[in-house]
Symmetry: C2
Subunit: 343 residues, 2 copies
Amino acid sequence: MSEDRRLRVLRAIVQDYVHTSEPVGSKALLERHHLGVSAATVRNDMAALEEEGLIAAPHTSAGRVPTDAGYRLFVDRLSAIKPMSAAEQRAISQFLEGAVDLDDVVDRTVRLLSSLTRQVAVVQYPSLSRSSVRHVELVPIGGERLLVVLITTTGRVEQRVIDVGTDLVTDDGEQALATLRAELTRATSGRTLAEASTELSGVPERLDPALRDLVRAISTALQDALVEEREERVVLAGTANLARVGPDFTTSLGPVLEALEEHVVLLKLLGTVAEEGGGVAVRIGHENPYAGLHTTSMVTTGYGAGTDLVAGLGVVGPTRMDYPTTMAAVRAVATYVSRILAQ
Amino acid sequence: MSEDRRLRVLRAIVQDYVHTSEPVGSKALLERHHLGVSAATVRNDMAALEEEGLIAAPHTSAGRVPTDAGYRLFVDRLSAIKPMSAAEQRAISQFLEGAVDLDDVVDRTVRLLSSLTRQVAVVQYPSLSRSSVRHVELVPIGGERLLVVLITTTGRVEQRVIDVGTDLVTDDGEQALATLRAELTRATSGRTLAEASTELSGVPERLDPALRDLVRAISTALQDALVEEREERVVLAGTANLARVGPDFTTSLGPVLEALEEHVVLLKLLGTVAEEGGGVAVRIGHENPYAGLHTTSMVTTGYGAGTDLVAGLGVVGPTRMDYPTTMAAVRAVATYVSRILAQ
DNA sequence: GGCTGGCACTCTCGCGCCGGGAGTGCCAAT
DNA sequence: ATTGGCACTCCCGGCGCGAGAGTGCCAGCC
């Protein structure tokens, strides 16, 4: 019994099932793939594969369907990421280049990814952790409120509103703000977010004691904005693709949509990125730590400017998905959006 | 034949159908509502209502179901917006008060609205059109690129990246930017966006001819940001609720999800707001201009700080929805989020 | 030992049929 | 205008059946 052929059979099953959405039997396999053996032999192999937990039959005497473990083996050892055609690459690149700002880049990326894969695309906004401070701005709004704006090298803008004890829309207030602004800029500008954060804590002491409380408030607000992970945003597109999957999927549709609304969860999943397979990580069915996504697979990778990975992107789809092309699309989009961000 | 009773029957049908999700027959009606008449009378009324196009039967000898026109009449004349209990109001208010910045307000609002109504909530970011310029900032990034940031009174931040012909990270460049910054601030600060836009066009002429091209580029970028409607964002929550609606709805689920991804469409729908019914507008089934939403109804209203309405919010759900309570929730959330924004 | 053809067996799926039930429309009577 | 009565229509669930797809196993063959 050739171990090698058994794996070829598994591969054929995965490919057929992805293609037809129906359990695949020994005979159907022979028609579409010319393994040089008979149906009976294939049946023996299938029995063995089932024994190993790689495929399963929905009921006696139906065809076989890959299990999560089967897909896993397929992804790890039986498939190669399909290279994208030059035309596709050009299209991707051109589409992304039309973007006018960071929001637009992210928006285009997520749309592109969902239409390429015909699945749900998930793109994380470039994370703060690796970027540095470009600019800090203080804007008084209303009587005793202050808008603190932080602009980073990745072009991201963070804002916080804080309550200050005193009215700032006075001459005194304006003046205080001016010195404060200068001081803050000096303390943070050009520094990485982590550096800026520590630098910031020294500022209050150096200033007029009368302002100390105010400064402390601003400083903590900024630090808050600096380290805040909660603020990391994700953007989705292509949820309608879930409805196209098929009737077998409609039951799990509710839970999946729910899971997709938990952006915190998605962020976490995008965060952990594997290095193998060209940097593309695949999480299949129950490998997924969240119950709502047990019927789905996630294909993710990192992207970002420079050598640092600053964010993640990927797609969510039914476990029965075309892994090689999906992985290719995810990788390609990540590459090109990184390139765009790099300039 | 009492016109009045016929409408009471219609109301009963709508209420029952919303409650049970099943076509309602004459007998079932009598059990749940004590109209003082017999089943036969109700049947006559139903026939008349069907004649008028207010209700329809899925097939001969099944119960009746309200048509879009039926719901319309129900909403306009047969129902009153249910007042919310004091406890609910307190809960809404408290939940929204925890927000730390504009993003958080919007995020909380949309979540709140979807969980209150158990439907898809849509919230538009406060629109620029009614607000005015708080601040303009120019940040050079990379060699020949400039990030233009616009901060408005509503706390919104718009950003644009523009390519300038020359390298700005030089002493000359820095100096030019400084004067430019001052000039722009003077021209726009405190003005409404429309005013600022016209004011802006005068700026290039008043400046050093050498900078004129640069200024013109910045000025157009700003004007772009000022009037840009495309940039208006909407946020969704509760799409999973669509999956709970029922089997009859699953077919239209795909198109609906697609429509919900067309944020431009949603913006347009949120934009047109009626004044009747406490400012809450209802768009039922085919009244909706977009085919994907023909099976759904939309309940929307405006919200925003001050006397001006600056944005819209609402929910999307199946035409078979509980209009009175949904309308109440939409109105209440709009009221409270406006209050939050007002301070 | 591994491969193959053959064969009996199992299970699903679609179809037609049937009876019960809910609901209607109409009519004659009040 | 309302009502009780009655015949009629149509959906729905359950049942049986045959076809088809697929399997498991066995005996023979290389």
